[in-house]
Amino acid sequence: MRAYIPGYELCAPKTLTEALERMAAEPGRWRPFAGGTDLMVLLEAGKLHHSCFLSIWRLRELRGIMIASDSVMLGCLTTFTDVLNDEVLRREFPLLAAAAAQTGGVATQNRGTLGGNIVNASPAADTPPALLVYDAEVELLSSRGSRWLSYHEFHTGYKTTRLGADELLARIRLPRNTAGFLHYYRKVGTRNAQAISKVCFAGVRSQPSGEVRIALGSVAPVPLRCWRTEAAIREGGDGLAALAAEITPIDDVRSTAAYRLRVSQNLLKAFLHS
């Protein structure tokens, strides 16, 4: 355990308003802390360099899954377990459910949140590829007000996002337009459970309309929606060359660029033939 624990501040504001006001008063000083499944790992490895956090874990305003006729609204504190327990999500957004089921073990799923998974901005996160193909939108909330962003625009580079210093990612909206789609998700990890992904593939396609949406994790500095690959497929190609040009996998302690590239292409082929 490699952190000087007494040097860290963690406060628990009683309301969302209070949390936003504190963040506004000292922009950049306070960062939101949800379930802690990413931040505590960094802490214990001696790699958590920021030391002031606001615990949002108990803020009811940030929980809950609201089903409307045209969309599903998820509070940022929706845990992976919450996703798995929701019938609408399982039925209409199976890739999100698959991602939730393959993130860590049950203990991690009980504690890990969608908001945290997004904001931690790891390119290897399990839910972002699903959120990208489902055209998710995210709400960035501050004491100045609320703004909605297409999730496609949220990640700007490796571990950098459009989240402002006084902003909180409060809700995620999923448009309910997946009827009749074929959904394909494959996470390739280092083992069958409790694994960081080496390649993560999420795809949906519609037989009648020919629409295809593809997103991958662990093959670029950000979770990547593969627009150019989709275009190449719409034009009648197999998308393999376009995919190779669009993703930028690397060698790291878990895998190699060559493996990630080849497996991504294999998964694309399997997706298109499934």
């Binding site: 355990m1 490699r2 083992r191 459970a193 390649v199 060559a258 493996y259 998964l267």
Partner: protein, 742 residues
């Protein structure tokens, strides 16, 4: 009345404490006034220490600081050669080598302080792998980087090549493997010049620690006391390393005057402590037209890391197992243990045998293909049998029937039917399936004259109420020592298992029954327990205090009478080698082990052509083990060993960066989870070994030897890919696959 506990699955002695959280491991203990210790370590693989810089903002005056110059006795960890320093003084020879010790009551501040010490070094050229070490451009140990070498000669290898129908060559590699016991290393020490040294902690060999502490502090036997606490896994990883951490805790205690606890976090344990020796084996084999082995020439090299530690013994076992349970009239084995600038490699279940057996079994598959025989047929034609001799010239004295064991394994695993089915189905399937096998043996106990040298002693004592206690330094670390030793004693004395205790290993109270390693605890120590128990019974019967067919109540009365008249009722037994065992250390020839356990393992795998991932789908483990003392514990040993070996074959890759493990966290060092392990079927055959307790042989390490080559044999059956190096990760499998038209 025959009282039989053998083969009965009695409840584990300490089982209840383990399932209730009452079992106390070292980090669960707290001593009055205790402070915490930590270790400052070398940032480089090899270098001269220029200075130590103590950073600002830390109240250094409140810390206990220990340097090499503070060591009262010898600055080395006594083992075989005494070349490993307890604390580096002027030169460091591996990353994470211990340089300085710190202690303080505040665990958090202590960690801050550790990071605030800078070890300034002037780097020296370093060596990071076997090739670099062999090349000898840089000499880092002795005159030639060689810790130890052996040569085994049988028959006349050189004359056999001309007679061969075929000569088959191959080279095979195994990687390092981290033991990854779930409880990290930890020690608590109380020490002072006036009272001596006492340590409590996680360990396999209390008397190894005892010997090491005597040297570091220049103390006598009585002045050092070592107590084993409940140990959360060892697998060899706590055979020699605990001496180092015990010395560190004791040095801090000695200087501070307070009890000191040193417990490693996972990152420190993974980066600084021992791993399985990486190996490279070259085989050259002469085979006849009908697949008989005519000659085997084997070159076996292991990477020992920066200091000698146990490498000579790992090399020994690997060498002796290198030619396997086969008969070959001409064998030459050249083996070497080499130095590199990595943390010293050490004991891990199998101890050299998994490495050399991997190479042999993969090579025999290659030989089989060259001669046009199935993998099982090639082995069938060459299995050793009674009256034939091994590579070291040991004549097999038991009625071992390896062909029958092979047949059983093939039958139980449905091998032939699966072979046919997979051959038919694979071309049209995205997922390729295959079956493979490995046949092997594993010698139990210390090699050659080792057991005689250990001269182990066990005591059995009875209280006046008839409660019986076993006195041995053999440690429980999950494998079932407490249970089977008490089971053996209970059966021998014919008293209820519930009346038996085993004393916590404490060098003040128990004799040295040798280290808990080498698959020797049941076979060698168990036999001593049996004879000590017989001795105790004889003491009572010879005085007429006990008659045949006694009840427990009569036994208790007899103990009471005896102790009232004569004092403590104790019986000791010391190791006697079985008759007819002869070993020549110079020529490395003779009877290497008192007994071998024999096995054939069959693995079924699936390989996904989409992701190049290999899954083990089914596993059958058939072994002949003498006698099964406790069916649940014995099965547990096999299942656990198979699981670790599946990790060795497919998942556990150590990524090295200039001599340091780069994936030193559980997130990135991958062991199998409950979702990665196949159903494992364990089948025992029993042919009682005359000199084992109730006929038992040792089995703790046996299951580590077979699974890796069986899995690679199955991958070859599934894909046609002949892989020669483990671990086989999807990345390496893909590279091999893409290099063919598979």
């Amino acid at each position: 009345m025959t009282y039989s506990l053998v083969g009965v699955p009695v409840p584990r002695k300490e089982g209840r404490d383990k399932v209730t959280g009452k079992a106390r491991y070292v980090d669960d203990l707290h001593f009055e006034g205790m402070i915490y210790g930590t270790t400052v370590r070398s940032p480089v693989a090899r270098g001269r220490i220029k200075a130590l810089h103590f950073g600002e903002g830390i109240p250094w005056q409140d810390f206990t600081i220990v340097r090499a110059s503070d060591i009262p006795g010898q600055n080395h960890i006594a083992l075989i050669l005494n070349d490993q320093p307890c604390l580096a003084e002027s030169i460091v020879n591996h990353p994470e080598e211990p340089v300085l010790l710190l202690a303080h009551p505040d665990r958090y501040l202590l960690e801050d302080a550790r990071r605030a010490v800078e070890v300034e070094t002037e780097p020296l050229p370093a060596v990071f792998n076997l090739d670099e070490s062999l090349r000898r451009n840089v000499i880092i140990w002795g005159e030639d980087n060689i810790f130890k070498q052996y040569r085994v000669e049988k028959g006349d290898v050189d004359s056999a090549w001309d007679r061969a129908h075929l000569i088959v060559e191959g080279e095979y590699h195994t990687g390092a493997q981290e033991q990854l016991y779930i409880e990290t290393n930890g020690m608590i020490a109380i020490a002072s010049p006036e009272r001596g040294v006492a340590v409590w902690g996680s360990m396999q060999c209390p008397y190894y620690v005892h010997k090491a502490l005597k040297a570091v502090f220049d103390l006598t036997d009585e002045q050092v006391r070592v107590i084993q606490t409940e140990t959360g896994g060892g697998f060899g990883g706590k055979e020699e390393y605990p001496s180092m951490i015990a010395a560190h805790a004791a040095l801090l205690a000695w200087k501070s005057g307070k009890p000191v606890k040193v417990v490693y976090d996972r990152a420190e344990d993974m980066t600084a402590t021992t791993k399985r020796h990486p190996s490279r084996t070259r085989h050259r084999t002469a085979v006849s037209k009908d697949g008989k082995l005519l000659a085997m020439e084997i070159d076996f090299v292991i990477d020992g890391g920066a200091y000698t530690t146990l490498s000579p013994v790992v090399l020994s076992r690997g060498t002796i197992h290198a030619a396997g349970p086969y008969h070959c009239p001409n064998v030459r084995i050249n083996s070497r243990a080499l130095a590199t600038n990595t943390p010293p490699h050490g004991a891990f279940r199998g101890f050299g045998a998994p490495q050399s057996i991997f190479a042999l079994e993969r090579h025999l598959d290659k030989v089989a293909a060259a001669v046009g025989l199935g993998v099982e047929e090639l082995r069938r034609r060459n299995f050793i049998s009674k009256g034939q001799s091994t590579a070291t010239g040991q004549v097999i004295a038991e009625e071992i029937d390896m062909p029958a064991l092979l047949d059983r394994a093939l039958r139980e695993s449905d091998y032939r039917a699966k072979c046919e089915r997979f051959a038919r189905e694979n071309p049209g399937s995205r997922v390729k399936r295959g079956v493979g096998l490995a046949s092997f043996f594993h010698g139990a106990g210390f090699t050659g004259s080792g057991e005689r040298y250990l001269a182990s002693v066990v005591g059995v004592e009875a209280t006046s109420e008839g409660r019986v206690r076993i006195l041995a330094s053999s440690t429980e670390m999950g494998q079932g020592t407490n249970t089977i030793l008490t089971q053996i004693a209970a059966q021998t004395l014919e008293v209820p298992y519930e009346q038996m205790d085993i004393v916590q290993p404490d060098t003040r109270h128990v004799p040295n029954s040798g280290p808990t390693v080498a698959s020797r605890t049941c076979m060698v120590v168990g036999k001593l327990v049996e004879s000590a128990a017989l001795g105790l019974k004889h003491t009572l019967t010879s005085l007429g205090l006990l008659k045949d067919g006694y009840s427990f109540a009569e036994f208790a009365r007899a103990c009471s009478s005896y102790t009232a008249q004569h004092g403590p009722l104790r019986s000791y037994s010391q190791y006697q080698p079985p008759p007819g065992i002869y070993w020549d250390d110079e020529k490395y020839q003779g009877d290497a082990y008192g007994a071998f356990a024999w096995a054939v393992y069959v693995a079924e795998v699936s390989v996904d052509s989409l992701t190049y991932e290999t899954r083990v789908e089914d596993f059958v483990a058939v072994q002949e083990v003498g006698r099964v003392i406790h069916p649940v514990l014995a099965t547990g040993q096999i299942e656990g060993g198979v699981a670790q070996a599946i990790g060795y074959a497919l998942y556990e890759k150590v990524a090295w960066e200039k001599g340091r493990i780069a994936n030193g966290q559980m997130t990135n060092y991958i062991i199998p989870t409950s979702m990665d392990i196949p159903p494992i079927r364990v089948i025992f055959e029993e042919r009682p070994y005359l000199y084992g307790p109730m006929g038992a042989k040792g089995i703790g390490e046996l299951p580590m030897d077979g699974p890796a080559p069986a899995i690679l044999s199955a991958i070859e059956n599934a894909t046609g890919l002949s892989l020669v190096s483990i671990p086989v990760t999807p990345e390496t499998l893909m590279t091999a696959w893409e290099g063919t038209d598979a």
